[in-house]
Structure formats: C-alpha cells, structure tokens
Subunit: 241 residues, 2 copies
C-alpha cells in the first residue's frame, strides 16, 4: 500500500488560524514537505513550527525567486521524485501550504506530478481572501453579490471592465502595479471603496485605506479589496494599521 | 467597558475544519449566538456542539425560511437588541457563522446593526469555496488565473459572459436553476469541466461530475465549480460520491 499525499492548508499566517485537522495531521507527521524561497526561511514552516514533531523528516522545496519557470520546474521534478520514494514505501507525506492548497497555491505543482499515481487528500485552509476581509472589518460578499478575484497584472482596460462588473473585487499580486491600480481606481471613483492589507493575520499585518497607503509598491503577501455591494459602505476614515 | 462581538467562522461543516482560534473562543464563551432556520436545528450550532460550554447563554436567531425580507429584518432587529444588552453589560458575545462570517454570511445583518457601537472581531473560517475544490480534488486557481464567484440566479446571457471571461468559476445558489445552468454549460461545451458538491466536508457530502448529477435541483448547501485554466484538466471520469 502506497502512502497518501496530504496537501494541508495552514491558513494565512496566524498559527491559530490553522484548522484542527491541519494541527492533527502535522502533529503526527513522519514526513513533512514545504516550500521555501532561496532568499530566506520558509513561511509555511514557520506557521507550523511549534507543532512539527522532533525527528520528522523534512523535505524543503527551495524555489529560486526568479522570473524564469525552468529552474522551478526542475525543483518540483526533484521534489516529486523524493516524495514518490516516500509514498511508494507506504509513508504518508504532509505537505504544508500557505492559505489553502488549491487557492493560488504552489501545491498544484506537486499535485500535477503525483496525483495520477498516489492518493491525495486536501485539507482546505483559511485563505488570505477572507483573512483580508476580516482585517478590513467589512463584509466581503452577501446575498446575490458577484465576486471577482483578479491578478493586478491585468491590463488597464481588462481590469476596468472586470471591476465595473462585480460587486466585490479582490486584487492579488498587485506588487509593482500598485500605482497603476490606484490611478485606475481614482479614475473610476472607487478609490474610497478600496482597502489594502499586507500580510493578513501575521504579526506584522498592516491595514490601510488604499488612498492612504504610504508605499509605491506592495509586498508579495498583500491584497487590495474593493467593495461596492448594496449598502455601498465606504471604509472607515480612521482605518490604519 | 463594553464587550466585544466576535464573528467566528466555523468552516464548511466538518468540525475538524474549525480553526484553533474558533475552538478557543467557543470553548471559553459565556454568551453564544447562532442562526437557525425555523424548519429545523441550527447547522452552525451542530458544528460546534461538542465544545459549547455547559451553562453558556445561547441566543438563537431563528429565521423564517420565506421569500419576504421583512420577517428576517424584525428577527435581526430583535437579536441585535438582545446582543446589545449583553455587550453593554461588558459581556463578550461569540457568534457562530457557517463558513466565513464575511463570505456570503448572515453575520453581516448583525454586523451592520452593531458595528458602529461595539468592537467587532472577525475570525475568518474555511469557506465552502475551497472545501468544494478539495472535495473535487482539483486545483481551483493558480498563478494569474481569474476567479468569478457568481450566483446561479443570474440571467443566461450575463452568466455566459461571466463564465467565458474567467478561468475558474464558482456558482453558488444554483438550487432551482440547476437544469438551466446545465443546459447553458452544455451549450458552451463546458459541461465536462464542471463538478458539483453537495454539503462539502459534511458527513453526507456528495461529489459528482455535473453531467452525471442525478437530480433536477440542488440543495441549499451545494456549489458548482467550473475549471478551465492552463492545463484544461477535465474532472476524473470515475468521480462519484
């Protein structure tokens, strides 16, 4: 009998936003896999650090933070080979995933390499989407609202059309596109309906009205939420970190 | 000092998909509030039943399951008054919310009545969106995908346009619109890219390819996911409950 590959959502960063199921699986794991950037420690590992059993085998998938996809492809091929050996030997593998494994997660690169050969079980997690809504203290969607989750990298005309056509909008991967997004939202008279959250639920979380955000670019773990909806509440004037 | 109103996400139904923070707050609560339908027991209460402290005051918001909004408005007004008395007396109130409080949740009706006067803290939860993706065992979104979350009640032309323009689509509140949605997806040649999950993560969860779903309507707790994305995987042929 081969082992099972678990894709375990850790939630957005606060270890207390891990699910009980994630906590149980990690606490009992013999083999644990997680992504890490070559520029520093693994955020995924840090969220679970307190409960990773001493003596567990840890397989770190160290990703080069570069534009090209080829190095990442090689890294995932190697990681998939290492996990295959464990799974073939009957060992379960718990893969730690920031947020939710299937919501913009890197787990899919292991999933697409291994799911045809091994049993996979996904443990869903709290996403940054609702963690950001919680941080902004404003309902994201209700009743018959439409929600659009969009990369901030889309061209202006496309972004404008999609923002016009949804009641609530989440912009991911804003990063270097922040000033362009702000200009667009000012032009659409939606700038006062937008908030930005950096590192939702983490110890260094910040929360701003987008109009008051003091930086020209946004960090990797950040999201812009734009609210319209029936009530057309604007964000509280007093909002700050 | 007034108490704090906690909006606590319980996750999609499996009690083990509750977060550690939700577990802690509920286990220590003195006053607990939850929604219930007048037609049966409270799903929210049932998810947390094992950890609700004996002797906690329970305030049940019993909603008439009817089309008109007025009875619900009166019920929320009364509930907000009851919670105000507790909060004014310095008592914290833990409100149980299926899924996530700010993701299509009824908590917003208490939030809009109480958040101007009392401190509110939201504990985000696992949504049915990612629980359904986990049940279908297929990544929902990756990289630069756009995601549209839509009510199945939208008119055909609108639904078609929005489905055409997103890589991944979640249809909520399909219910009596199921046959219409199926016909539309057949016409769009997307029927083989759609799955339907009833009661994700609950004991009576079912999972089907939409083409094989044996019912003409879908229950309240169900969702259709439509996948396109780069890889254009179709759902496994063998998929069943």
């Amino acid at each position: 009998m081969s082992g099972t590959l678990y894709g375990v959502g850790l939630g957005p960063g606060d270890p207390e936003l891990m699910t009980l199921k994630a906590h149980r699986l990690i606490s009992n794991a013999k083999v644990i896999c997680y992504p890490a950037a070559d520029s520093g420690p693994s955020l995924a590992r840090s969220i679970a650090a307190d409960i990773i059993p001493k003596g567990a085998l840890e397989i770190s998938v160290v990703l080069p933070m570069r534009e090209s996809r080829q190095p990442a492809k090689d890294v995932y091929d190697q990681a998939a080979d290492a996990l295959s050996l464990q799974l073939e030997s009957g060992q379960d593998v718990v893969t730690l995933c920031e947020g939710d494994p299937f919501f913009y997660g890197s787990f899919m690169y292991l999933f697409e390499r291994l799911s045809q050969r091994f049993a996979v079980e996904i443990v869903p997690g709290v996403t940054s989407l609702t963690a950001c809504a919680a941080a902004l203290n404003r309902p994201l969607t209700s009743r018959m609202d439409t929600l659009a989750v969009l990369p901030g990298t889309l061209p202006d005309a496309d972004l404008r059309h999609r923002i016009e056509n949804a009641q609530s909008i989440a912009l991911m991967k804003v990063g270097r596109h922040l000033e362009r997004v702000k200009t667009l939202l000012e032009d659409m008279q939606l700038i006062d309906n937008a908030g930005i959250v950096e590192r939702a639920s983490q110890a260094n979380q910040t929360v701003h009205r987008l109009a008051d955000y003091p930086h020209a670019t946004a960090p990797y773990f950040s999201m812009v939420l734009i609210y319209k909806g029936d009530e057309a509440w604007t964000l509280p004037r007093s909002l700050s970190s």
